[in-house]
Amino acid sequence: MESPDKKKIIKNKLENLIGKDNVISSEDELIAFECDGLTNYRIKPAFVVLPGSTEEVSAIVRLCYEEEIPFVPRGAGTGLSGGALPNREGIVISLSKMNRILEIDIANRFAVVQPGVVNNWVTNAVSPYGYYYAPDPSSQIVCTIGGNVAENSGGVHCLKYGVTTNHVLGVEMVMPDGEVICAGGKAQDHTGYDILSLIVGSEGLLGIVTKIILRIIKKPEAVKTLFASFENIENAGLSVSDIISAGVIPAGMEIMDNLSINAVQQSVNAGYPSDAGAILLIELDGPRAEVESHMPLVLDVLKNNDATDIKVAKDAKERELFWKGRKNAFAAMGRVSPQYYVQDGVIPRSQLANVLKEVEKLSRDTGLRVANVFHAGDGNLHPLILYNASNPGEAEKAEELAASILKACVDAGGSITGEHGVGFDKKNYIPVMFGEDDVDTMNLVRCAFDTKGICNPGKVFPTPRTCVEPGSKPHKSHPLEVEGIADLF
């Protein structure tokens, strides 16, 4: 779309497909779409379109396929890895108008929603029946289910309940050529390859999800939330492994270090002790008798690991306050630093102490402070690198430090991302974690879906690869194939 004439033609075609009001092309309005939650990178797209139905998404994608225009799906734009970063000559397909909950079936424990539905709308809708939708990323009051599916989002309760992929039963998706497929469904088992599992977490590279069947689960009978303070973060980490070894799988276990605690306290006053080296926030849930029998086991572990103070939330209000502190930890960093850069590495839990020491060393070496807030039960670290962009070179230094931390995670046997996705931000770290043949295998998947490489290109993979049609071998036919009864693959 480099020539103005071509751009005009495409604009007309888009307007014919979905109406003038649903095509954004003015420079001013496009600014709002030039980045997602990762604001370091900004690119203005050629157009933003706002389809209202699967048919409209399909028509737009078909046009992109025919004209070979790159497109990027976008939910609420809260992603932290630049997954919704536009292409300069491309189209951003915003799913914000497809925001209806289509069906709720309490008896069969599912809800069918459009991709623009906000995460916590689902829980709000099923809550009166005693049910909820489990994945709860910190941004759940704004982030959308479509984005959650793309990123395979987690949250603070996924230690026990799993991440998005464990709660999606099926999707309807527009393929990169405009064809509409349905993977999975309302029943729990399906035959053939698990296409659904490829789609969830594919970061918008395999198509645009237009309908999602979500599993909803029963609210636990009892919930107990507590936090324990420690002089050092290592003991908080040891407690995490010991609690699981004691046979307890808490709904969530979160650690915050002193720097994070103080930022949170200044921001929302969650009742955390500002002199603690670290706090471990724990939530137990389940049948009342289970929670009651697990509580003493947890308290024993905490005491054995020298917890200096243990505070159990006395009611729902206090419980909410404890969580408010944790969920506002990122935003609270504004209180202690002009800018921060959040990363998302994963390590085996047993490596927690070693990796945190390494992070501390790296922080000292670069002279940049790092606040640690993480899903300790999953070993999912969120180091927040604090910097001041007005100091020349500091932003770059922060990125370098982030890269070193991710490398330390991989060296410890972990991953470069636990829930934020690879996106644009970390595509160059993929080779740190995977070998060439491993990446090539992922590319075999991508090429099966997107032969032209137009669906959210420039993300996840470090270098774009061309899809090659495989040579086919005339195989001997199966008897059923010969008789026309069945198809072979």
């Binding site: 395979n152 992929t165 464990n166 029943a187 390859y193 698990d194 029963k218 492994s241 992922m442």
Partner: protein, 441 residues
């Protein structure tokens, strides 16, 4: 083929190549005898063998201990069976992380024995574990048991895999951590792929602590309506069951060991709870209070409980090979409706039916005995009934006569094209288990 075999002998150790006709018979897949069995001992050997087969267009069927080779269609071609039986080692138990890695030829029971030393376990209880079901076979067939209600399937538990692709390259997918979204979820793609995309050689699983205590509540019902109401209350209760299973009278009689003269016509409901002792007892009390209209109710623990659940898991394979075994997946609350319909059609067609229904997930495992042509009719009727309820049916085992008559996989929907493209990209020469994954047109 002899020239090719001689060439292969130069590439890998001689003793891993088996040509003994008697042994070849033992490895036949649905009556299809392989020309060669190879039992590699290292990953590089598998890579060499697959590369060799790829070059000469030789069709491969991967096998663990062979307990599930009956799943899928008869292969359209079969030259070589690559048996993973020698790749059976535990590679690491990272106990503090509740993660373990093993070669895919390791049996699940061997794996569990190792984990038990540290009071941990892999919460998968598929059939045929006592017959030697291997980790690779369980992943490739997406096999599971009644514990799915609480723990899920391999899909939920598999963290990392190593696979030999059809071009002989050894690749890795996933990572040895419980949370990871870097790149596509390659491990899940291989769950249930039946060896058609690559040969699974190594797997890493998420583990759980062995629960302190376990108890199973058992209740019997004469009327399906009463049973349905009881199940509904159990599903809505504040409990976390490991398994919720209903058995039809034929299977109930087998499980309770009733002799033919005393056979009853009771539907049984079994609810297994695992937790701390006080939490188990409390939840069992809850169930007892809400389950009314039962003829009888009791509890099982220890050995008795283990025997019961082994019986529920293995029942389709404990009788003669003449039975037809089906797996039906439906909406949770349609399970009893489908069970009722199944019993009706089985009676009309003079078929003996045994069924265990996992009420938490809507999965019915069905065994049909009787005239083969009636087995086929029953499957078609049931399939059409289940399709109208947004469910599906997979044939897990059938007799030789039905091999070329029955559609194993049922309706795959509109994802067939993308599945074909994936298969084409992963195995362009169709050498991996060709013809075994098929859909009805």
């Amino acid at each position: 083929m002899n020239d090719q075999i001689n060439e292969l002998r130069k590439l890998v150790s001689d003793h891993i190549i088996i040509q003994d006709p008697e042994k070849l018979n033992n490895y036949s897949v649905k009556g299809f005898k392989p020309k060669l069995i190879i039992r590699p001992e290292t990953y590089p050997e598998i890579c060499e063998i697959v590369k060799f087969c790829n070059y000469y267009d030789l069709a491969i069927t991967p096998s663990g201990s062979g307990t599930k080779l009956h799943i899928g269609f008869r292969p359209s071609e079969l030259d070589v069976i690559i048996s993973l039986g020698e790749l059976n080692k535990m590679l690491g138990h990272y106990e503090k992380d509740f993660i373990a890695t093993a070669e895919c030829g390791m049996t699940l029971s061997g794996f569990q024995d190792e984990l038990k030393k540290k009071n941990q376990f892999l919460p998968l209880n598929p059939p045929l574990v006592r017959s030697g079901a291997t980790l690779g076979g369980i992943i490739a067939t997406n096999d599971y048991g009644p514990a799915r209600a609480r723990y899920g399937t391999s899909r939920e538990l598999l963290l990392e895999i190593k696979v030999v692709r059809s071009d002989g390259k050894l690749i890795r997918g996933g990572a040895k951590v419980v949370k990871n979204v870097a790149g596509y979820d390659i491990p899940k793609l291989f769950v249930g792929s039946l060896g058609t995309l690559g040969i699974l050689v190594e797997s890493t699983f998420r583990l759980y602590p062995i629960p302190e205590y376990s108890k199973t509540f058992a209740a019997s019902f004469t009327k399906l309506d009463d049973l349905e109401s009881a199940v509904s209350k159990v599903l809505d209760a504040d409990i976390v069951p490991t398994s919720v299973v209903v058995t039809n009278p034929e299977l109930s009689n087998d499980l309770t060991g009733l002799k033919s003269s005393k056979k009853s016509s009771l539907y049984n409901l079994y609810v297994k709870i695992e937790n701390t002792k006080s939490a188990v007892n409390d939840q069992i009390n809850t169930i007892e209070k809400i389950v009314h209209d039962k003829i009888s109710g009791n509890y099982l623990t220890d050995m008795e409980e283990n025997i019961l659940w082994d019986g529920i898991t293995d029942f389709p394979y404990s009788s003669s090979a003449a039975n037809l075994v089906l797996k039906t997946s439906v909406l949770i609350r349609n399970s009893v409706k489908v069970l009722n319909y199944l019993i009706e059609i089985a009676a009309n067609l003079n078929l003996k039916v045994k069924c265990s229904a996992n009420m938490f997930n809507g999965i019915l495992i069905i065994s049909l005995h009787g005239e083969v042509k009636n087995q086929l009719i029953a499957t078609n009727l049931l399939r059409s009934h289940v399709s109208s309820l947004e469910g599906n049916i997979t044939v897990l085992r059938c007799s030789k006569e039905l091999d070329n008559e029955i559609d194993i996989w049922g309706n795959i929907g509109n994802t067939m094209n993308i599945m074909k493209k994936i298969k084409n990209n992963f195995d362009p020469k169709y050498i991996l288990n060709p013809g075994r994954l098929i859909r009805d047109l």
